[in-house]
Symmetry: C2
Subunit: 440 residues, 2 copies
């Protein structure tokens, strides 16, 4: 009975599935902290652009194309008139002038979208509308303005070169031509082009689905009455949801989660099914109630670190659940959360969406007054950048440095980037800034 003689499965050494690990994080810098650039590059190295998705062209505005688009037709598809007027043979009107008009019999009419009734015989004219197909035999269109608009016969007062006011087949696009390429971001003009060559669906990177979660027993939903002196309104999840939405994401904001490990685990597990990226704020510092830091390692591979930046020092990242869904865990102070969004989340969203440049393009502005900075950290100061009298950009601070100042944040239109080596920017010195443009 060889069946029973076989070695039983449970006697075999059971191979434990290797737990999923994050790639080796970058080594910390001199101060024991990771640099902003290292941390961002690390996050970007851990994620891939979302898989291509077929989308109706009107829903693809602003998305990134994942295929080269080849035109199956030429544009124009046929020789056609660029004016309302009369189709003729140029040689039949080569003597026409205001002093001595040429008169031709009008033998028919070609509206746009309909065929010419017949080909054009020499010495005749055919009325033709803009966009209408040039009748066979004609090579030129005389616009109304150069005629008497005659119905039976037309008097033409201008000689024209052959081909005048005619759009040639393929003049814009040739059949078989690549008109858009994988990686192109679809502006409205590209949508017009796609429609013009008859394409109604394209493969694009979808909008990233972002789930935003706030944690904290102290938080209350806006619109409700604060129950108790210690409660505050939740601003982070609204601000981050709004920022992600303005950056092109599809956003799901999840109501407040109390500082309860089991509840937090359950909420995150429930949300994984619809998330390409999860954002949390709060609970990543050294406090005893920092449950995000405490719970997340149970859900997947995580990396909690300190980044050499101000604000936004404590940062968490993970790839969690069965699909290794990325999660970015930011500090809970509103300004820290906003700066973390700009420094890390926006680039990650851009990579997910297949956008080529992950970073905002910095501008160089002149400091309106001295700005002190913290050495060994990249400082993100809330700034106001305005145009000076000569068109140059002038940067000033929007408010103090406190990481809880929502008012100052709302009043800023830029983040000023003061590098690790900078202790002081004097008035008149140049300073790098990110203009917060996409965002209103």
């Amino acid at each position: 009975m060889p069946l029973f003689g076989r070695k039983r499965v449970k006697d075999q050494p059971v191979e434990e599935p290797e737990p999923f690990r994050l790639p080796e994080p970058p080594a910390p810098g001199p101060g024991g902290m990771r640099s902003v650039v290292d941390h961002r590059d690390y996050l970007l190295s851990c994620i891939e652009p979302l898989p291509p998705f077929g989308q109706q062209i009107l829903d693809a505005v602003g998305l990134t194309l994942c295929e080269d688009v080849v035109s199956a037709i030429s544009l124009p598809r046929f020789d056609n008139s660029s004016m309302d007027g009369y189709a003729v043979r140029a040689q039949d009107i080569h003597l026409a002038s205001v002093a001595s008009p040429t008169s031709l019999p009008v033998v028919g009419e070609v509206p746009a979208g309909a065929p010419a009734p017949h080909s054009l015989s020499p010495g005749t004219a055919m009325k033709i509308m803009t966009g209408a197909m040039l009748p066979e035999g004609a090579d030129t269109v005389v616009p109304y303005e150069a005629t008497d608009r005659g119905e039976q016969d037309v008097r033409i007062v201008e000689a024209l070169d052959p081909g005048s006011n005619v759009r040639r087949v393929g003049e814009d696009i040739n059949e078989g031509e690549v008109v858009l390429r994988a990686g192109d971001r679809l502006a409205s003009r590209s949508i017009g082009l796609l429609a013009g060559i008859g394409i109604d669906k394209v493969m694009v990177r979808p909008r990233p689905r972002v789930v935003v979660i706030s944690t904290g027993d102290e938080l209350t939903e806006p619109g409700f009455v604060l129950q108790g002196d210690q409660k505050i309104y939740d601003s982070n999840s609204y601000m981050l949801a709004a920022a992600a939405k303005a950056a092109g994401a599809q956003v799901f904001r999840v109501g407040l989660v109390p500082d309860d490990p089991e509840r937090l685990k359950q909420v995150i597990n429930d949300q994984l099914v619809r998330a390409d990226l999860i954002l949390t704020t709060g609970g990543v510092s050294q406090g005893d109630y920092d449950i995000v830091k405490q719970v997340l390692p149970e859900l997947g591979a995580t990396d909690f670190t300190t980044v050499a930046m101000q604000p936004g020092k404590p940062q968490g990242f993970g790839l969690i659940g069965d699909d290794q869904t990325p999660i970015i865990m930011m500090p809970g102070n509103p300004v820290s959360a906003f700066v973390s969004f700009e420094a890390f989340v926006r680039p990650v969203l851009r990579k997910l969406a297949g956008v080529d440049s992950y970073l905002r393009r910095p501008v160089i502005a002149t400091a309106a007054r001295g700005i002190s900075s913290i050495p060994d950290k990249l400082q993100f100061a809330r700034g106001v950048v305005a145009e000076g009298d000569n068109g140059e950009l002038i940067a000033d601070l929007a408010s103090g440095h406190g990481s809880h100042l929502l008012g100052g944040l709302a009043g800023a239109n830029a983040l000023l980037l003061l590098g690790e080596d900078t202790e002081f920017v004097a008035a008149g010195d140049q300073v790098e800034a990110w203009l917060l443009l996409e965002d209103g």
Copy 2:
């Protein structure tokens, strides 16, 4: 029977309602054409911003506020800790140093969102989390880093000024303060601010509802097979719908309307109910099939004119239906339609949405090569603006001037504005450009 003796109503002079008229249009310029600026100003003078609308804050991102927002609370609401650490009285640790730490008994703990168990007695410390309310009697927070993190007693190695690491009530926002003003555009940071002061709904200008209609017997929907040699795909309604969407509008694209006056009237009448603005392309020129121009005057007050621009010369505008809904009727060539959108529709959309600046901000670039222009018309050339070696902007033409060239339009990233007085821009000369940014 005085009842019968009364003068019958029909004998009274019936007052015909005065037909609605457009304001007097501006006088044409020297060439018999209206200037671009005059036409735009005329359109803007005929419309008003949309009425305010209550919106949930997350749906208000990017919209314009219609009310001043006053904070009903202070932020912070109470003195609270900006660090995880220990609440103390500064005077109790004024001699603390690394060489000679001060030891204090830990008499309790304040998590965020909960009240302190009791007030702080002199000579004691209370553990406190970031954001937690400072217990009565305390004036300073010693961060973990300046302690041994003791549980029974804590050794403190640094003297601190009173108020250190404490966020004072109202430091960010005072109760009764105006935090945002009517006319402000709501960025994500403003959404965070609104949430932070407990506001969940605001009055904003809604997204304009734009109905886009294409007319023309020759048009076919993308995705379908062209039936007949003379048919072409409809690109305009897709391009304009995409452009309006990218500009923040809520867009309804209406399938192709054939060149049938009754059908067109019916479609437009049916759409009025959901339109803040109607856009059509085609049928505004001098052709015999220009049904838009033929039909629209029956639906309301209209103004068909020629504008001193290239492309985009024939332009129509109207206020139609019972509500005097604005309609902008553009020429049917794709590039003409796109330029008309930028020159007229975008400013109108911005005014409807309550945005302050109606125009794109032009940039000044250096022409990479000579560009000839048509005198007496404002020419909008499709351009490519790129940054040169020294950060200066360099402008080149994207393609030829043909108004049907979709390929060239999709390849452009700017419109170069060559004024009425310009016949030629030499290489190295400065040229004004609109960067087509919002649009991908």
